[in-house]
Structures are given as structure tokens and as C-alpha cells.
């Protein structure tokens, strides 16, 4: 009985092979008739002695969107049966950041287009019940997962492609629906949105300073444009730009500052805008223990107060303040961003600030600059840094610096 079955199977296989062989020849002929004549094979470089790793196929400068699309197009045109498409897609996903297309929706749609259409749609309830074509579905989920990871929102074409490939009730479709449910919910959750492109350093500095100043009344001032400046004492040219910000409140705060106490130029502090890190400097003072006594109006009588401050709509328990001590910190007078954070540049900023704040001419200015912003900590100045501090009268700090 078993031998009979074997015989039958072998016969079947033989027939199939024959059919396959005939079909193969037939297919090539058809292909040649339809398509343009196949291009010649690439020159045989690998003769057994030389093996090129596939990482080296594309040079670093060739790794762009065009060559990425070229490879996918080559695959799609070469194999009509799309054999090995899962492997191709997974490899492509891995290489997407290298080619700089990891945030390109068009490329993701093209990758989903590699799947053969309508083959993986379940046709009956058993197929639907079990994981129909699991490897392909997982591969499509991986594509969607990478889209999600890079924050790429799918569009209608993605949905159409998934519908065509896997059908309505498939796992990739579920994943697509989840993304489309949650992404729009959190799209505007961030109150501090960062624009996509900020290439101009002045615009970037203005944007950052307005963000951290958190005051609509504050005004940004461009102290130096990043133009190429020929400086007489420097050998080369410097592309410095100094953009500062100060609000009217800060101006009045600085005007009330005790001229015997020094003000500090503190920095660099880091600010992250998505994946770029910029640095800013703060003009501030150390916290003072002496509080200014606010003079009470001499005309005011305790028995007949001029104003009556009663919160009548408040209940006894309606105390919305938190029972915490205020963090003692010195006032912030101004902030700036420069392309180079040395004392000379910051001195020019202080000199520019003198126009609006004449008190800076009398107040000593300390530079408390840490060498590496990576190790930025709000520690009290250590002994080492104290030696680096430069104290001088603000009337001629810049000239003094320039002589050095």
C-alpha cells in the first residue's frame, strides 16, 4: 500500500516537474516578448577569489533615496512572482536609516507595494481563524512598526495597499487602525512644537530664546549677524552671531540690582529641539539674602484700609497653593545664544546690553563658563571653576580682552 502511494507521488512529481520545465521556457519567451530585451548580465567580478560584502555595493555618497528606489524597482521588475519578498522588505527596513529614507512615507508605501496582491487574503473562515500567511503578515506589521517608530503617519494609499494585500480583517490592517487612532490624538499634545526646518542660525536662536523666555513681552535683539567678519586682530574670519532676549520685567529687575553685587554670565546650558541640541547663556545674579522692604503707604490706616482684599467666593478649604518652600535662586536678567561661547563673544553681548541697561556699566560681571556643556550641572561653583572666573569692571572688558 505504502509503495503504491510512493509510486503515485513520484509520478505526480514527475508530471509536475515536466510541466514546470515547459512552463519555465514558455514564461521566459513571454517575458521576452512583453518586456524590453533583458539587459546583459553584470560583469562577473566574483570569480571565486574576490567576494564583495553587500554593504559595499553602495558607496556612502550613493546612499540616497534614488538608489533605494532603484533597488526596489529592480527587484519588482525582475521577479514577477516576487519570490523572497519578505527577506527583501526586512533588509530594506534595516537599511532605510542608512539611505536617509526612514521618514519617507512614499518609500514605505513602495515597500508595502512589493507584497503580491490578493494572495494573502483569507478566503474562508478557517483561514481567517488561523494566522493566514503569518510570515507575510508579521513582515507588514514590522513595516508599520518602523513607520510608527519614526513617527510617520500612514495615508490612504497605505490603507489601500494593506487592504489589497491582506484584506480587511488582517493583523496589519489592525495595526494600521491603531496607528490612525492614536497618532492624531497625540499630534498636538506637545505645547512646545518645533518646526520641521530651522536652518538659519538667527531664526533658530530667536525661536529657542522665545521658547525658553516664556514671556510674550520680551524682545529679541540680534547683536551680531552671522556674516563673515574680517577682524583686525584675528587671523581668520569669525562667523559669530549673538542673539539675545530681554523682557521689560527683566530690564526693571536689572535696574534695581544692587551695583555692589556682581552679575553672572552663566552657561552653556543645553536646550533640545527634537534631536538637535543648542546652547544658551544666562545673565543672572546670585540669590541675595537681603530682601528689599516694600514701603507701606504712609497714608494707609489699618482701621480704614484703602483696598479691601477679600476673596468672598472662596471657601475655607479652597487653598490651592502648595505647601513647599520656594527654591532660592537668583533673578534672570537676560539670555543669549551665540555660535561661539568664549568670554570675548559674551563680553560683546554684555556691551550690547548696556544700551538698554546702563547699570551694567557699574556692575562687575563674572563669567562662570563651564568648559564642556556635556558635564553641565547646576552645582555651586567648584574651586577649580572659581579660579577660572574673571572679574572685571564692565566699562572696558572688551578692550581688555581684545588686547590679550
Amino acid at each position: 500500500m505504502r509503495s503504491l502511494r510512493h509510486l503515485f507521488l513520484a509520478r505526480q512529481l514527475f508530471l509536475k516537474e515536466q510541466w514546470l520545465a515547459s512552463a519555465e521556457t514558455h514564461r521566459t519567451q513571454v517575458c521576452r516578448a512583453v518586456h524590453s530585451p533583458p539587459t546583459k548580465d553584470p560583469p562577473q567580478t566574483s570569480t571565486g577569489s574576490y567576494v564583495m560584502p553587500y554593504e559595499d555595493v553602495f558607496a556612502q555618497e550613493q546612499r540616497n533615496k534614488a538608489s533605494f528606489l532603484e533597488v526596489i524597482k529592480l527587484y519588482c521588475n525582475k521577479t514577477t512572482r516576487r519570490r523572497g519578498h519578505v527577506e527583501l522588505i526586512e533588509t530594506a527596513l534595516r537599511w532605510m536609516p542608512e539611505f536617509g529614507v526612514e521618514k519617507d512615507l512614499e518609500v514605505y508605501n513602495l515597500l508595502l507595494d512589493v507584497f503580491p496582491k490578493e494572495v494573502f487574503i483569507p478566503q474562508n473562515f478557517i483561514q481567517r481563524m488561523f494566522h493566514h500567511y503569518p510570515r507575510q503578515q508579521e513582515c507588514a506589521i514590522r513595516v508599520l512598526d518602523q513607520m510608527e517608530n519614526y513617527g510617520v503617519t500612514p495615508n490612504r494609499q497605505t490603507r489601500f495597499l494593506l487592504l489589497q494585500t491582506f484584506g480587511e480583517r488582517s493583523h496589519p490592517m489592525k495595526k494600521y487602525k491603531r496607528i490612525m487612532y492614536w497618532f492624531p490624538r497625540f499630534r498636538h499634545a506637545n505645547p512646545f512644537q518645533v518646526p520641521e526646518k530651522l536652518s538659519d542660525p538667527v531664526e533658530l536662536s530667536k525661536f529657542c530664546l522665545q521658547r525658553i523666555a516664556a514671556d510674550r513681552n520680551s524682545s529679541t535683539t540680534v547683536f551680531e549677524m552671522p556674516s563673515v567678519q574680517e577682524r583686525e586682530d584675528e587671523s581668520g574670519q569669525e562667523n559669530t552671531c549673538i542673539v539675545g532676549i530681554q523682557s521689560p520685567d527683566q530690564v526693571s529687575l536689572l535696574a534695581e540690582h544692587d551695583p555692589s553685587m556682581p552679575v553672572l554670565v552663566d552657561g552653556p546650558h543645553s536646550l533640545w529641539l527634537k534631536k538637535t541640541c543648542v546652547y544658551y547663556y544666562v545673565l543672572r545674579a546670585d540669590p541675595t539674602s537681603i530682601k528689599k522692604e516694600v514701603e507701606v503707604d504712609p497714608e494707609r490706616s489699618l482701621y480704614y484700609p484703602l483696598t479691601l482684599d477679600l476673596d468672598l467666593d472662596r471657601d475655607l478649604g479652597d487653598d490651592y497653593s502648595f505647601d513647599v518652600d520656594e527654591v532660592e535662586e537668583g533673578p534672570v536678567f537676560a539670555m543669549c545664544m551665540t555660535s561661539s561661547g568664549d568670554e570675548r563673544t559674551l563680553g560683546r553681548w554684555i556691551r550690547g546690553l548696556q544700551k538698554a541697561n546702563p547699570i551694567l556699566g557699574q556692575v562687575p560681571v563674572l563669567f562662570r563658563l563651564s568648559s564642556s556643556p556635556q558635564e553641565l550641572t547646576p552645582q555651586v561653583v567648584t574651586e577649580y571653576e572659581k579660579t577660572r572666573e574673571v572679574e572685571e569692571e564692565e566699562s572696558e572688558p572688551v578692550h581688555h580682552r581684545m588686547e590679550q
Partner: protein
């Protein structure tokens, strides 16, 4: 963006109850160093097997045992006194009338011991995170560097997170204890970040063991700059996730059995980060009436 919590709290709250009760690993690590939050039977590739006999997991030091006993009786005393005083150790009148409550503030090194700092270091990553008191000993300063390079162990695809988590409250003699925040509807934080987005994770005590990885998350966007930032996050905004994946069946967070609060950074940007925290508190926002911000489909 938001949905990709993939690595954020993948390994955050998976401390087994065993280590919690005997408090071996948690007590052994100092507050500013990298602690392991990830303890289970699974052994990651590349790590040697831990062939220890069971008795080596216990510390038979008598002095430590006596100290432990003292601590537990102290806890018991505190529990009894608090119970006599009123709900949560406050007089009833105060507890009913209070509109705000400060949960954590950072004024001395003892306050830092209520927190655990961890990073992807424990899954083989290269991020670092440290916690210390800030300037003037008035704030907590969480700093370090994020590194998204995934460990090459053949199974990890993503890496790069740094996290800080409060230690779960413990009752006397290893009993569980919870925070009851049901009087309040918003979380209030005063922080000063560097512009990076963080994630607030809340863990409620699970009823079934398969919910032990459930976390309730929302985002904490920092402004950056030299000024303090007051952030108020209503509890209705917190969404349910498990093992870093947002769940389909969402429900509002039940506030009567909160065990831990955590903050996670995982914004995929390599580089140093810092976050200064003044305090973390609760407030009752009468203007906020929303029960749940997402559809429940029930």
C-alpha cells in the same frame, strides 16, 4: 512619536514580589547608582548563569535582622498612629478640605532614597542616569546621557531609555501599601527640563497577575530654559499600556491603589539630558470635569 512607547517602560516595573519582600536588590543599591528594576527568571543572552544555591539569597546577619525588626515595628507604630489620626495620617477635617497635597519633595538625601534610577544599562544598553540633590539642596537633579545603540545580543531591537521611579510604599512586615489619590484629579509637577519630552508612568496595583506590567502613561513636555515650569496633568489623560504597547481596551485610572510613579526619557536623541524636579504633588482642579480622554467602547 507617541505610540512608540516600545522601549520606554518595557522593563520598568517588572520587579518580582519575591525580591520586593526580602528587599535584597533594592536595599543593596545606593540611590544614586544604577539600580536594577528588571528581575525575573529570564536570562539575557551573553550573561553567565547564576548558579547560586537558594540559601545564598538570604542574609543571615543578626544585626541586620534586628535592624529590620526595628524598622518594621516602627512602620507598625506609624500605621497605628496614622489610623487613629484619620485618613492618610491627617485629621479628617484637613483631609476633606485639602485641595492640594505634596507627594514628594527633595530637600535632603533621605528624600532621594525614595527613588530608584535606572536606564537601559540593565538590558545591555549604554545609557547612563544619575540622581542627586541640586543646587542649595532644594531640588532633585536627574542627569545622564541617553544612548540609543541597541545591545548586540540578537534579540533587542531598540534601546535608549533612562528612568526614575519611586519606591513602592511598604507596610509593616512586608505587607503592601498604596497611595490613595482618589480625592484629587490632577498631578502637579514643578520641573525644569532641557526641552526633552518625558513620560510619566503610574502603576496601579494589579488585581490579576497578568496585569502586573500595566502602566498608565502620559507625556511631560519640558520647556527648557532657566525658569521653573508648572505642569498639571489630569489623571483622565493617562492611557493604559502594557509592556510598552498601548492597549486597545482603555479605561480610566483607578486612583485608590497607586503603587509607583515613574518618569522615563526615551526620545531617541543621543546625548546628555537633565531634569530638575522641585516637587511632585496632587491637586483638585474643579474646572476639570473630564472622566476619561479616550474612547472606552463599552
Amino acid at each position: 512619536m507617541a505610540l512608540s512607547l516600545t522601549i520606554l517602560q518595557m522593563n520598568m516595573y517588572r520587579t518580582s514580589p519575591w525580591t520586593n519582600v526580602i528587599g535584597l536588590k533594592l536595599l543593596a543599591t545606593s540611590f544614586h547608582s544604577q539600580a536594577r528594576l528588571y528581575n525575573n527568571d529570564y536570562r539575557r543572552p551573553g550573561l553567565p548563569p547564576e548558579n547560586k544555591p537558594p540559601w545564598e539569597y538570604f542574609n543571615f546577619n543578626i544585626g541586620k535582622g534586628v535592624q529590620n525588626l526595628k524598622d518594621h515595628f516602627g512602620l507598625l507604630k506609624k500605621e497605628i498612629v496614622d489610623h487613629l489620626k484619620g485618613p492618610g495620617g491627617k485629621p479628617l477635617k484637613v483631609a476633606i478640605l485639602e485641595q492640594t497635597s505634596v507627594l514628594w519633595e527633595f530637600r535632603n538625601p533621605e528624600d532621594l532614597k525614595k527613588w530608584t534610577v535606572s536606564s537601559d544599562f540593565e538590558i545591555g544598553g549604554k545609557s547612563t542616569a544619575y540622581l542627586k540633590l541640586g543646587k542649595n539642596n532644594q531640588t532633585a537633579f536627574l542627569y545622564g546621557a541617553l544612548n540609543t545603540k541597541a545591545p548586540q545580543d540578537g534579540e533587542t531591537n531598540y534601546s535608549g531609555y533612562c528612568t526614575m521611579r519611586s519606591r513602592p510604599p511598604m507596610g509593616a512586615f512586608g505587607r503592601k501599601s498604596y497611595y490613595d489619590w482618589s480625592n484629587f484629579n490632577s498631578l502637579h509637577l514643578r520641573v525644569r527640563g532641557d526641552g526633552r519630552p518625558w513620560m510619566i508612568n503610574l502603576r496601579a496595583d494589579p488585581y490579576f497577575t497578568n496585569q502586573k506590567d500595566d502602566l498608565y502613561n502620559y507625556f511631560l513636555y519640558t520647556r527648557g530654559g532657566p525658569y521653573w515650569q508648572d505642569v498639571k496633568i489630569p489623571f483622565s489623560k493617562f492611557f493604559l499600556s502594557s509592556r510598552g504597547r498601548i492597549q486597545d481596551n482603555q479605561h480610566p485610572l483607578w486612583l485608590d491603589k497607586i503603587t509607583a510613579l515613574g518618569m522615563t526619557l526615551g526620545d531617541k536623541a543621543d546625548g546628555p539630558f537633565q531634569l530638575e524636579i522641585d516637587f511632585i504633588g496632587l491637586c483638585k482642579d474643579q474646572a476639570h470635569t473630564e472622566e476619561f480622554a479616550y474612547e472606552k467602547y463599552k
